[in-house]
């Protein structure tokens, strides 16, 4: 027969209640797949009397304080690692697709199916990582997500190495980061006395508010967006709470430029 056991923050309830000797541990393990068929506080009040809530609060504070500190230390490292993984996977997919096409031109072979299988596996992995980036970014950088989107935001954090570095970077750097290669090429050309276009945007170029504008207005929008991204990163770094109105100002600028 199936024995029911319930994990409570102060112990385990099976046929009898075993009160935990390590409340922090039982607090962290107080998970149950379905709702408890009784009220945990009623049972707890019988065990601890009027100290119940005081004790619960004390443990809740201790456990969450430790978890929060740990997360604050590792959250943006996690984003950086995810973005790096994503880039590797995208590159691997492109390589595989290329090799597959090369093979196809030479011979119809069964191996091709294995290629397709691997590619679609990678595709799934890529989607999974993108989802995770969304979730983590929403938590650590809500303002950046609000105005730049999770993917651009995460790539910016990756490029600068951390949210802190991004928050401290000048907006002009944010505007062109990711376009270094074409920037260096342009500078080299200019040094040789030739004409060249200085790139106006890097990673942020994929932002719909930039791509949604005609070419001659994109530079202006990129500058504005980069300065707002810088503000968003600062709020995320210091407070981490969504600031209403930041997005509206970016959208307003976009609409102004579109109408001009």
């Amino acid at each position: 027969m199936l024995k029911l056991r319930y994990n409570l923050w102060f112990g385990e309830l099976g046929e009898v209640l075993e009160v935990s000797k390590d409340l922090r541990k039982s607090f962290e393990g107080a998970k149950n797949p379905t709702p408890l068929p009784f009220n945990v506080s009623e049972l707890g009040l019988k065990v601890f009397g009027k100290d119940y809530y005081g004790l619960l609060r004390k443990i809740a504070i201790e456990v969450s304080e430790e978890k929060v500190e740990k997360e604050l230390r590792s959250d943006d490292k996690y984003v950086v690692a995810l973005v790096k993984a994503l880039e590797e996977i995208e590159e691997a997919m492109n390589n595989l697709k290329e090799k597959k096409e090369e093979l196809e031109e030479v011979r119809e072979t069964e191996i091709l199916e294995n290629f397709s299988g691997s590619i679609s596996n990678l595709e799934r992995l890529k989607e999974r990582i993108e989802e995770e980036i969304e979730v983590v970014m929403q938590r650590i950088s809500p303002n950046l997500v609000e105005i730049a989107g999770a993917k651009i935001g995460a790539k910016l954090i990756e490029k600068f190495g951390s949210l802190e570095n991004l928050a401290k970077a000048p907006a002009s750097k944010i505007q062109i980061v990711g376009a270094e290669k074409s920037l260096y090429k342009a500078i080299a050309r200019i040094k040789r006395g030739k004409e060249a276009k200085i790139p106006k945007h890097g990673i942020i170029f994929t932002h719909p508010f930039i791509r949604g504008l005609p070419k001659n207005k994109r530079g202006k929008m990129a500058r504005f967006l980069a300065s707002k991204i810088s503000i968003a990163a600062k709020i995320d770094l210091f407070r981490g709470e969504l600031e209403e109105g930041l997005y509206d100002s970016v959208k307003k600028r976009f609409e102004e430029l579109r109408r001009l």
Binding site: Y6, N7, L8, W9, F27, G29, A30, K31, N32, P33, T34, P35, L36, N39, V40, S41, E42, Y53, G54, L56, R57, A60, I61, V63, S64, E65, K67, V68, E71, L72, D75, R139, I140, P142, D236, F238, R239, G240, E241, L242, E244, Y247, D248
Partner: protein, 210 residues
């Protein structure tokens, strides 16, 4: 509402505690009050717009999306004989919430993802009210899950909805209609209204578990 008083158009809560987020503290007839500005808190905006929810002071409340505790600090003044379970999953605002929980005896801080109520199912008791302010696409679903785990029969929900976080393309009115339709499958809707001009594109929904 218990421990709430209007001074002109702005409410304040009677409190023996200091300022948590920069709000003004003042005395009136020998009692201390904390100013509760409607632009800073959706619950305050709701009161300013003339709506009330019934709180006697001893309620058990599950609050999803506590952030740094702006609204919770006032709720803690209101349900001064009750208990508030404050769920928040973002580390930075949670740190500020912890400062509050350390001085307020009726706040239990819970550092968890509100979309996974099973992970805190052995901590939170059955509650009289679930308050939700999380701006998530699937916030109705999250509310229903938590209500399934923790809300007493005939218990109440108070939900803050921001149209843009549910769907960034559809019209606000259409989004709110869909949310209400979805909610009314599990709750009797008691009251709903926009929170403009204090919170753009937001409504609140107050309901009761059927």
């Amino acid at each position: 509402m218990r421990n709430v008083r209007f001074f002109g158009n702005v409410p304040a809560t009677k409190s023996r505690y200091g300022s948590h987020y920069g709000e003004k503290i003042f005395e009136y007839r020998g009692e201390r009050y904390r100013e509760w500005i409607p632009w800073r808190s959706k619950l305050s905006a709701m009161l300013v717009k003339g709506h009330e929810i019934d709180l006697k002071g001893n309620e058990k409340i599950l609050y999803l999306g506590a952030a740094s505790g702006t609204t919770i600090s006032h709720l803690a003044d209101i349900v001064d004989e009750g208990i508030l379970y404050a769920v928040e999953y973002s580390a930075k605002p949670f740190k500020k919430l912890l400062e509050l929980a350390k001085i307020r005896e009726n706040i239990i801080p819970i550092f968890h993802d509100a979309s996974k109520p099973w992970e805190y199912s052995g901590i939170v008791e059955k509650v009289d009210l679930i308050y939700q302010d999380i701006s998530q696409k699937n916030q109705v679903e999250i509310l229903k899950l938590n209500s399934h785990f923790f809300l007493k029969d005939r218990g109440r929900i108070l939900m803050m909805v921001k149209a843009k976080s549910i769907d960034s393309t559809a019209e606000d009115e259409e989004i709110f209609r869909r949310v209400l339709e979805e909610l009314s499958k599990s709750f009797d809707i008691l009251l709903t209204d926009s929170l403009e001009p204090f919170h753009k594109g937001h409504i609140f929904v107050y309901g009761r578990k059927v």
